[in-house]
């Protein structure tokens, strides 16, 4: 099967998934017990005022009609208006997506770069000293509460040691912001060649990214180790050893055979850690999409919550599509599945 055909077939499978997700997010809010009318009208409103607001929001119509309106709007890119920010939800989110992705991608990326080699090394010598140390580390990452880790890092590295900037925002207050290209200060300052801004953006990134990397690395270590041990004890690797192939060749074979499952796992981590990132964003006042979503939930800003959930779903689909394509390219058996 050619890549184009594979690509088209996968895209076709995405369409029903998308409809389901839009329906899901829509229903979630309706049955979730959020009453935006009450929030908007305030405690002193009369019954007539309630009815007017309800009609304005289209909430007086039957559920199926509401869904029809909603899906029509979503298709046109209209996710409604957030009453918290009084701006279109889509604009709000587009501003914040790069900010959150910056945190998430650096965090999970570094977590993978550290976690995968540790897991592999542990797998090549199970029950050795290194294995035990790495197991302790991954247990630490598993059991530690995200927000607590963030707060402790601020306490130690900002309050006690003064090595890091305070956890407010993404760049120093006295630093002028670079002209916007990608939406992330780190990349934009690099593009503008503004080293002061770059240093400030980088120093603000280090603590939150470290938090996410620690949280991400723990399961990556554990899974990489398990996957590699399974590959090492597979018939194929045992046969390769029986064939007297050099140790290096055998190791390379283990790496290649472990690549697909490890990659898939890192992808699931990437989608799974979006939630964790929200908490980190809150602690560091990062102002990204996660914080936006959390605020929307706390304040009952239901259009924004819908938009946020829709984005999370789209992001997961996108990540898994990319993984599928990469796996297709490196795995000769993929066409059978």
């Amino acid at each position: 099967m050619t890549f184009t055909r594979f690509f088209l077939r996968r895209m076709m499978m995405v369409i029903p998934l998308l409809v389901g997700i839009v329906f899901g997010t829509f229903m979630l809010i309706r049955v979730g017990g959020l009453d935006p009318v009450g929030l908007l009208a305030g405690p002193t409103a009369t019954a007539e005022e309630f009815d007017i607001i309800r009609a304005e929001l289209g909430l007086d119509q039957p559920l199926w009609a509401q869904f029809g309106i909603y899906i029509g709007n979503v298709l046109q890119g209209d996710l409604g208006e957030s009453w918290l920010s009084t701006r279109p939800v889509l604009d709000d989110m587009l501003d914040r997506v790069p900010v959150t992705l910056e945190l998430l991608l650096w965090g999970v990326g570094i977590g993978a770069i550290i976690g995968i080699p540790i897991g592999l090394k542990a797998a090549f010598k199970p029950d050795g000293t290194f294995d035990h140390v790495s197991r302790f580390f991954s247990l630490f990452g598993f059991s530690i509460p995200t927000y607590w880790l963030g707060l402790m890092m601020l306490f130690v590295f900002f309050y006690l040691l003064r090595w890091a900037p305070p956890g407010i925002g993404r760049i120093g207050l006295m630093v002028s912001q670079p002209p916007e290209v990608t939406g992330t200060y780190l990349m934009d300052s690099l593009i503008a060649g503004d080293w002061t801004a770059f240093r400030s953006a980088l120093s603000h990134l280090i603590l939150p990214v470290t938090c996410i990397a620690v949280i991400a690395a723990a399961p990556i270590i554990k899974h990489t180790r398990a996957i590699a041990i399974e590959v090492i004890s597979s018939d194929a690797v045992r046969y390769a050893k029986a064939s007297g192939l050099p140790t290096l060749t055998v190791r390379r074979m283990v790496l290649r055979n472990a690549a697909t499952p490890v990659l898939t796992f890192v992808g699931t981590e990437l989608t799974g850690l979006v939630g964790t990132t929200s908490l980190i964003e809150y602690v560091f006042a990062w102002g990204g999409l996660g914080q936006y979503g959390l605020n929307a939930i706390i304040n009952g800003d239901f259009t924004a919550v819908q938009g946020y959930v829709l984005f999370l779903a789209l992001f997961s689909i996108f990540v898994f599509l990319i993984i599928d394509f990469v796996v297709f390219l490196i795995e000769p058996r993929a066409e059978l599945q």
């Binding site: 194929a236 045992r238 046969y239 029986a242 007297g244 050099p246 055979n257």
Partner: protein
């Protein structure tokens, strides 16, 4: 000189139980056998008797908790058990080649057949890519794979079980081995393919004057394709001899039971009184390990049985080898 000499090989599984007490499973208890050039030795026995473990011990591929605790394995006079891993790697896949039980899962799923054949050749000799490739084609032809040049670019998952086993045999032949160890080479294959593969193996062994070990639980395979046989029971070899001698005059009660239990014998009215669980390897009985399953067990059997010679190069580990009454009709 013998190609392979195995003397008193002992392999144990050493582990700890839930109370942290050391537990030892006596998986191999003093295995002794020889393989000569141009000869096929068949090793038979029931599941758990230690057949595959013997092969893995010989080539040094044991995984913990299995450990060799005694004995010698000499290949062309060199002791394999004390050899460094690098020296062993130079012999494995080169002078000693393995054909394993699960051909389809034993090939590297991410490399084409040709690349794997070339890889094993170049791991053991200074040949160029092109040389190795032409040798691969030659060996694929030798094992009866049609369109060998085309098949070089096939992926392992595209092969049938029989085809994959032929590829494994071709892999084994890439470096002109002196000894071929085939561990249940036909277990996963259907009957017609089994016969083809075994014919092929026997033909190659005689043509190239290799020594070979075929490990199987199928007496028919031994009868049709081997020169000598060793019968294993509970981690020990209870009888060895030429295939003709052992089948005609089984000297050990276990062997005679095995032979009587073949479908051909059962058909002509022999009664097979047979069965019982194999002895507990963690807790082997004193004396003869076969005692609890033996119809002829007497008092003497509580002492370790000697190796008794019952014919030319035909020995059995039994107090009464060669003196047993003819099997009950």
């Amino acid at each position: 000189m013998n190609l392979l000499q195995v003397r008193d090989l002992e392999t144990h599984f050493i582990s700890r139980d839930i109370d942290n007490r050391v537990r030892i499973a006596h998986a191999l208890n003093g295995i002794t056998f020889d393989v000569e050039e141009g000869e096929i030795l068949g090793i038979v026995g029931e599941t758990g008797a230690g057949k595959s473990l013997t092969a893995q011990s010989v080539v040094g591929l044991l995984r913990p908790p299995a450990r060799i605790v005694g004995g010698q394995v000499r290949f062309e006079g060199r002791d394999l058990l004390t050899m460094s891993e690098d020296d062993l790697n130079a012999i494995r896949g080169n002078d000693i080649a393995m054909v394993v039980q699960n051909p389809r899962t034993s090939l590297d799923p991410l490399s084409r057949i040709g690349d794997q054949l070339i890889r094993i050749r170049r791991a053991h000799s200074e040949s160029s890519e092109a040389e190795a490739r032409s040798r691969a084609v030659e060996m694929m032809t030798a094992v009866g794979i049609p369109d060998p040049e085309l098949r070089l670019s096939a992926w392992p998952h595209e092969l049938s079980g029989g085809m994959a086993q032929r590829v494994l045999i071709a892999m084994a032949l890439m470096n002109e081995p002196k000894l071929l160890i085939a561990d249940e080479p036909t277990t996963g294959l259907d009957v017609t393919v089994q016969a083809q593969i075994l014919e092929l193996l026997r033909d190659l062994v005689t043509r190239m004057n290799m020594g070979a070990i075929i490990i199987t639980h199928d007496l028919g395979v031994v009868a049709n394709f081997c020169d000598r046989m060793a019968v294993m029971f509970a981690g020990g070899i209870v009888e060895t001899g030429t295939v003709g001698d052992v089948f005609e005059n089984p000297a050990h009660p276990y062997t005679s039971n095995l032979v009587d239990a073949t479908p051909e014998r059962l058909k002509i009215g022999r009664k097979a009184v047979f069965g019982g669980a194999p002895p507990d390897l963690y807790n082997l009985p004193d004396g003869c390990h076969h005692r609890d399953r033996c119809r002829f067990a007497r008092e003497e059997c509580s002492t370790p049985p000697p190796l008794r010679e019952v014919g030319l190069k035909h020995v059995a580990r039994c107090h009464f080898a060669g003196e047993l009454p003819e099997t009950a009709q």
